[in-house]
Amino acid sequence: MSDKLMKLKVNVWRQTNKDQSGEMKGYVVENVDPHMSFLEMMDTLNEQLQHKGEEPVAFDHDCREGICGMCSMVINGIPHGGHKGVTACQLHMRHFNDGDEIFVEPWRAKAFPVLRDLVVDRSALDRIVASGGYVSVNTGGAPDANCLPIPKKEADLSMDAAACIGCGACVAACKNASAMLFVAAKASHLAHLPQGEPERYVRAQNMAQQMDAEGFGTCSNLSQCEAVCPKEIPVRVIAEFNSDLIKAQFKG
């Protein structure tokens, strides 16, 4: 790997606000260090734009260490750039070559309206969580750690799903813009724990209902979500969620 600075052609979606239509616009970005992250490359682009007196590109980001789920860019046709288990902020420019042309687009879904440039409104995901992705607890002293025995296998299954950072890449990647991987992950990480078990079926029903109301597509088991998920959440959780919804029909 060389440390030579790169020059790239970066095409970015530009859109001033929710109500206006946008377009792809090309920029030449110079002095891109291969050690930079993708977001640092975007920062470099923005510095260049500001120097020229142009509006910088708006994009979401926060932790820049792959844990918050804020960064959300479809890079060359694949959310987060398509490296296994990597968010856009953790994607390094060493994966690109000098002279490359890169296309950067926002998440595309009816439920994720573009607010500006690459920033989309993902509050639909929050509303789904609010509709059921919690456990009802009566207040009182916090229980001691480990006083609830949980089999290792169940804890692992729960943790697989709890890794979800809610970035929405699953929706962005899905041919149908379905949110099933997200919703099922949020249901699954609670369903495997004794605290979440009692509300398992009501939770599944409420979350599924909210998911439909937000206008996400349906699941066709293409597994594109699993392929792009930066936390590598398995489509197993979707089968579990389906199973819970079917069982819910026979309960009550």
């Binding site: 095409n11 979606w13 792809m24 479809v74 060359n76 046709g77 694949i78 959310p79 398509g82 296309f103 687009e105 595309r108 879904a109 009816k110 439920a111 573009v114 990647a173 899905c174 041919k175 149908n176 813009a177 379905s178 599924a208 209902q209 998911m211 439909d212 206008g215 996400f216 597509g217 349906t218 699941c219 066709s220 088991n221 293409l222 597994s223 594109q224 392929a227 792009v228 489509v235 197993r236 979707i238 089968a239 579990e240 969620f241 389906n242 199973s243 819970d244 919804l245 079917i246 069982k247 029909q249 009550g252």
Partner: protein, 241 residues
């Protein structure tokens, strides 16, 4: 307070039928309908192929099978009824989900998606549509006797000479090609469908799911080979008039 008590007794909920209809029209529920009907259609197709392979045994075996089918109203109409219910439901949910999916992404990506997925899985609607078109033609040819070459006379027992009808049909290269094409697409459809339907029905296993994916492939393309072997054998002269 009174409301809360009511809810606790669960006496204010919708009726069983009401909640079932509500579930079936939800996105997950409609996929359950698609999965169940798909499973039924697949079972039908397997039985159909087993019957067809009797063509290799000979004219009498094949015609006897056809006559037995026609002579057993319970079997014939049971199957037809299942198809009459299963097919429209399968198609209706397909159309509905495609509508929902199109609406879910109003603005397309500038760069076509690179998120990996099997081609057969991405083209379920297309393969399904071609198989449906073929199915309609197939009914017109072999069940309703409206098109295609038909034997001039009935058999002595009053039945259609199904064997001759089949051989005469497949001696026409165009009919054979349409048939084989539809079977290849049916194979693609089933090769994703079988795996997908278990996922929709909530069935998952660390060992079972990879196995089911293979079953789907083997079954899909095995059915295709079984069905397609007949017109090809007719064209090659292995099955004689």
């Amino acid at each position: 307070m009174a409301d809360a008590m009511e809810l606790k007794r669960g006496s204010t909920g919708p009726t069983l039928f009401g909640s079932l209809v509500k579930f079936m029209s939800s996105s997950v529920g409609s996929k359950v309908v698609m999965a169940v009907t798909g499973l039924g259609l697949c079972a039908f197709i397997m039985g159909h192929m087993a019957g067809n392979l009797l063509a290799f045994v000979g004219r009498d075996a094949f015609n006897h099978y056809a006559a037995t089918l026609k002579g057993t109203p319970l079997l014939l109409w049971g199957t037809r009824l299942a198809l009459l219910i299963g097919f429209p439901l399968h198609i209706w949910t397909a159309v509905r989900t495609v509508q929902l999916n199109r609406a879910a992404r109003p603005v397309a990506y500038a760069v076509p998606s690179k998120a990996p997925a099997r081609a057969a899985a991405k083209t379920m609607m297309l393969s399904g549509a071609v198989v449906l078109a073929y199915f309609a033609y197939h009914l017109a040819h072999f069940t309703l006797h409206l098109t295609g070459p038909q034997p001039a006379t009935l058999l002595a027992d009053g039945h259609y000479d199904a064997y001759s009808m089949m051989v005469m049909g497949f001696q026409q290269p165009l009919i054979a090609i349409f048939y084989v094409t539809a079977m290849v697409l049916l194979a693609a459809h089933i090769s994703h469908g079988i795996y997908s339907l278990f996922q929709h029905l909530g069935f998952w296993g660390a060992k079972w799911t990879p196995f089911l994916k293979n079953v789907a492939l083997v079954l899909g393309y095995g059915l295709c080979a079984g069905f397609a072997s007949i017109p090809l054998s007719v064209l090659l002269g292995l099955i004689k008039p």
